[in-house]
């Protein structure tokens, strides 16, 4: 294998008596979509929060492009090329869709100390923002207030903001949730293209999307990875069928 873009080594995290992450080791290789699946409450979002820097692990390391970033803040990790989308949208709700995307482009520029010119008239930021919004299918909603978007559209905006960052790695927490059939298909197509730009760690409940997209799948149950492998490996794995997929038979 080549050098991973992103890696967790032995991450553990407890909330009181609840062990939300148990010695989680996984990696993300260039060009791949690595899906992280598991039942509700398995600890997927908790793991993502530790990778992105919103939560400190009790133990273990997060390595981004060869650098140990475990001690860095969320913003520092973002500047080093980590783009994350949220299961529960974290957007500037009073602002328009375009303003949110421009904010992403501003973060990517690393230069927020501009006090006079209007942000919306900055051609560099605006172009990056509009391109990203077009890719997720939000071009018709640039002037809409974010609070007025549907849940699915907010998820699309989350992805658009991540796109403006031009990151080294994407981490996406349920980007398909709330999207209709058409939206899901469009998002699946987008993620499929996107892996060439940067690999994606994808948390998703939509199994059709996962099986269509994933190069590898890891299965998380009670905070622990019980299996990692190709789509076929995971489908055949008896432990996985029992713990997770079994309910479909």
């Amino acid at each position: 294998m080549t050098d991973p873009v992103l890696q967790t080594i032995g991450i553990s995290k407890a909330f009181g008596a609840l062990q939300a992450s148990k010695n989680v080791t996984l990696d993300l290789q260039p060009g791949e979509i690595h899906a992280l699946i598991g039942p509700n409450g398995a600890g997927k979002s908790t793991l993502i929060q530790q990778i992105a820097g919103n939560l400190r692990p009790d133990d273990g390391q997060v390595i981004l492009a060869g650098e140990n970033v475990t001690g860095l803040t969320t913003a520092q990790r973002a500047r080093r090329g980590l783009a994350r989308t949220f299961q529960i949208s974290a957007l500037a709700m009073e602002d328009t869709v375009l303003q949110n995307a421009i904010l992403g482009a501003l973060g990517a520029s690393g230069k927020p100390w501009a006090f006079f010119g209007a942000a919306l008239k900055r051609q560099d930021l605006r172009q990056a923002a509009e391109t990203a919004l077009a890719r997720v299918g939000l071009s018709d909603h640039v002037a809409t207030r974010t609070a007025e978007l549907s849940h699915g559209q907010r998820r699309q905006l989350e992805v658009a903001v991540a796109l403006t960052l031009k990151p080294k790695a994407f981490i996406m927490d349920e980007p398909m949730a709330g999207l209709g059939t058409e939206g899901s298909q469009q998002m699946t197509q987008l993620l499929h293209e996107l892996r060439q730009e940067a690999p994606i760690l994808l948390v998703e409940h939509d199994m059709d999307a996962v099986f269509a997209l994933a190069d590898r799948i890891s299965v998380l149950v009670y905070g622990e990875i019980i299996a990692t492998g190709s789509v076929d490996d995971i489908r055949r794995n008896p432990k996985v069928r029992e713990a997770y997929l079994g309910e479909e038979d």
């Binding site: 974290a90 709700m93 904010l103 927020p112 006090f115 006079f116 209007a118 919306l120 960052l165």
Partner: protein, 327 residues
Amino acid sequence: MSRETQINSLIMVGFILVPLWAWMTDEPFIITLTTKAAILALAGIGLNIALGLGGLVSLGHAAFFGIGGYAMGILASHAQSYDPILETPFLIEGTKSMIVIWLVAMITSGLAALAIGALSLRTSGVYFIMITLAFGQMFFFFSISWPAYGGEDGLSIYVRNNFPGLNTLDPIQFYIIVFVIMALALFLTARLAKSPFGLALNAARQSATRVETIGLSTYGLRLLAFTLSGMITGLAGALFADLNRFVSPTMFSWQTSGEIIVFIILGGTARLFGPVVGAALFILLEHILGGLSDFWHIYLGLLLLLIVLFARGGIIGILAGREVAHD
């Protein structure tokens, strides 16, 4: 022109016509009242950067207002007594030049805001309110117990400070200075709100996680906003002291901090002209109701309650409706 812009223009016209009319009919007291409203508006414009744009409820902005006031008082008192502030290791003399006083007021209040902000911004919510209040009170008690500059009695300055080419003791000429500064501050904050920095600051108020996730430090954004905010309120303090030709610890009191917040809530939080309308209304009520009853604050409180309960956008919100997203 949006409805809000129309209303804002009307307010500006009011700030020109009222003193003009007072000047023509020889009513210097009205000019002085308008001057006071414009200076307090400026203090509110400063706080509105932190509170409106940044969501930082500072109950300690009297610290900056007072620092500006004392910057004027100290510099001018040394100048009027021909007694240098410092002789060794180098000479620092007092001054009666408004421009120098404004610069000193802005630099000192900015430095204080930087220090207070650096510590306070490690907390949030109620803790932030309390810690800024505590810093404000520190300045208040310090000013009371520092005898060199009048202690509790404050400091009187006999003649208003100088501005090149103007007779600052003439109410209308002093008003022109204050009005131009207020207009300039409004222009700059309007630009700031729409700038990339303003966009990021405003987003940090709505979702700190979002701003961190795109790689910006909310702490850095807020600290700069708090510092700019303190500088403008400090400048207002210097003008306020010059208007009264007097500074006292009252400028540092927590009631002063509260009043500046009241201007903003009355007029409309995060609205460009919110503090202007709020301060004007405050002065108007103080003048009209204060003449009728010593307890006019009760009516002010009632009005404030109504606005908080039924009109979150303040007076500007009532008149202009919800803020429109600009493109």
